[in-house]
Symmetry: D2
């Protein structure tokens, strides 16, 4: 070996007296398995961030340990073993706080409303957890929807502008909640759900149903907020809706937050 | 100075006998001035790529020279001095081929259709040129539009799904053509233009006009192709339309290419 | 005109009793002029978000008013007129809270360290303000830097892995601070600044200087935090550093927050 | 049902006499299974584009059929059934040309060079095929690598700037080639491979090995080109290298194309 022993720089002292809130790895791409209401589990690909705090007296963090912890759990990252991974991070790094963020596309087979033809819809989700003395755990679910503009419908002699929108729900839970149920709630709170496969009879149905059910971004966030507000297992939530306006080159946006974070 | 003279590694020999087609800098962010039909010129910010070929006997390229050439022209990058920059690249690098690509947002003040309220619309454009023994020059113009689905309108008792789409035109020219004129042509080839500012009377107008003028992506590329085909100064073009379908979570897409590249 | 008077749906009542925290326009692309320490002002292109709150009794917001307000100020968006725009938003929408977010690339001419050859560096910045009964104003500055890994240098007989990183500073201020001064502070807190144009003598200088000054992401955020902590006009700041690790396919990340938000 | 029979607008006539080169769906997100040299197959998530040509006499395409075809094959999209899917597209749409593009992250377990600690590396790949009277099939493989600058090393008394780069290989094949073998070839053609997990002994190894093996983007594309050129099963290839320069805020880029497309 070389003249230099493989000295452990990171464990050396630091004298600037500045505690670091978060330090770790960001954007680790990783294939994972998550729980699935219908098929028990599904394979997907996640982008993962892992951070711990670092007290002022230490110079650095041993970054490779994050990936090692990930490797020990790679067959499954779920709401169930999430706290275990955080606990392990805290212990392995001798940290007082650990953060884990896992973003992934989640797929659900959805039948078209009339023909019942089946297609796979993608919903981008995330688990974001922190373990200090207490635990914090947030679930994000992103649901594309269709919105028809009530103003456009009202003032026009025919037609109404409509567009795809994206609703993002973030939640803190008091019990287990299926992603599938949140998605259903959000899709019921827009002018219409969005589908990956629609036959002609379905397209007619979606067009008419959404036209009969016009909603502003304001309406969408209020409907979602009302519906989530009734779910006992949700302690806190935020909901944002972004409409890729079909008549503009920018988005319409609304945001509501409720409960105790 | 150090023991090492600042030896010119790049100018050294290479023995692998492999000519390099393109080598240079990519993604240089740069504020530029471009020609403007109404205001003579406008300030914008470009992302720039500059490449030359490298014969097999040379090891490397002097990358800093690309940025130096850019600096000599930073007050203006237009269709007029574009060939001059390419010529300079060819000469400075002693290359047989030079490539220059400049992408930038271009802004046009557009009046709403009824209220005439004015707003600024952004259109992403690009100049892409190559100088070998002959010159090649391509202009790209991206135009957001509104499309109403003819099928949805026809089969539904009320309403019709519609969405924002993006039309990308690429052209090789036989004379000077204003970006403004291409944009006008594309906007006239969709169900309706898109606006940054619409008052209620305008929204009514756009809704009804687009409903009366339903178009598939197929119709959009055909209309644009017909209209560009009539412009004598355009030798070659391609046109693609991408609709961010409001009823799906994916896009509908169509592409047509005409003329001699 | 049609059978329908252009009724004002948005001003109608809503009975769901849900106040909306933020509603408005997102992603408006807009050419703006900002203050520049050296040249007084500079032209750039911004992406703008504008939101207000909406009390529960009203159905919707008049989105076009946001763009109208923007149009009234388009020649200049600076730290000086920012509160004026927020005030106008609050008044025009009869809102209790207004939010304005403006992101833009900012360019500074920077001389290479030895040759003094000049190049333009891009720094992505943002102003983010909220006006309720009190005002909140945050400035973001993103500074690309070079970091050499201290561990790699220490344990290796030769060389040390290094990479580009991005440092993002967010600040709440107690007085006027030039973006240029923040950038200088950050660049002095890394292994080396990054340049758009370097001649061979400069490359030698940057290589040796950064090698003599190895820094982890942890070191970078601590150095920046120490230096910003000394600036009296900064009441609160956060600083994050992300290294696009040259030996990995993911980033190393660190984050520190200080002061009263 | 409504007054309107569900008339088939798309099958109606068109009189503009413009054939459409490509029409279809773009950006369909889909979980797929691909072949894996070590584990036989692996689960991943793809982004899929599907197009056919449309003769001038027809008004439109039945977009839902693309997703139906996809659904029939969703358990597996490989080099083996790719031509079958294209054939099906051609037949189902009665088209003369069909295009299928499938992009996906591909994961390989890679041992660190000294400790042999295992980590999962992500490589973004794509299959892009066209079926007309003849078949065309292109495989893309993107490999992140580490490059040390030869010029910086030569002129500096100590150290050398280095950075992560991305090498993209596109190939037309005369036989079956494993993605794993292309990746190995590319990784051997840079200053060093990149890893997801490195212990201290590995970091020392990677640092020294890459320092001993400095390469420009020019060198990388030449090495890859030489090595691919020797593989009999590759009829045509292009290789591009992009270095996210650690001393600049832009990339260095090189491109080589060889063989008959």
């Amino acid at each position: 070996m070389s003249k230099k022993a493989l000295s452990d720089i990171q464990s050396g002292p630091d004298f600037r007296r500045i505690d670091i809130d978060k330090v770790g790895v960001k954007g680790v791409s990783y294939p994972i398995i998550v729980l699935d209401k219908k098929n028990k589990f599904q394979h997907t690909v996640a982008s993962i961030n892992m951070y711990v705090d670092l007290p002022h007296q230490f110079k650095g963090t041993h970054m490779s340990r994050f990936v090692e912890i990930l490797n020990e759990h790679r067959r499954e990252i779920t709401v169930h073993n999430f706290p275990i991974i955080l606990e392990k991070m805290k212990k392995r790094f001798n940290a007082s706080t650990a953060h884990l963020e896992v973003e992934f596309p989640y797929f659900i087979e959805k039948a078209a409303p009339v023909s019942k033809a089946k297609g796979l819809m993608e919903y981008r989700c995330a688990y974001r957890g922190t373990l200090h003395t207490e635990r914090d755990f947030v679930v994000d679910v992103r649901v594309p929807v269709l919105t028809v503009c009530p103003c456009s419908k009202e003032i026009s002699d025919r037609g109404a502008h409509n567009q795809r929108g994206l609703v993002t729900v973030s939640m803190r839970l008091a019990g287990f909640v299926w992603i599938e149920d949140i998605i259903k709630t959000v899709e019921a709170s827009a002018s219409s759900p969005v589908y990956s496969l629609l036959k002609r009879v379905d397209e007619k149905h979606v067009t008419e149903r959404s036209f009969d059910n016009p909603m502003f971004v304001e309406d969408v966030v209020r409907e979602v907020a009302m519906n989530l507000g009734r779910m006992k297992k949700i302690k806190w939530f935020s909901v944002e809706a972004e409409n890729w306006e079909s008549i503009h080159n920018h988005s319409a946006y609304a945001f509501v937050e409720r409960g105790r974070g």
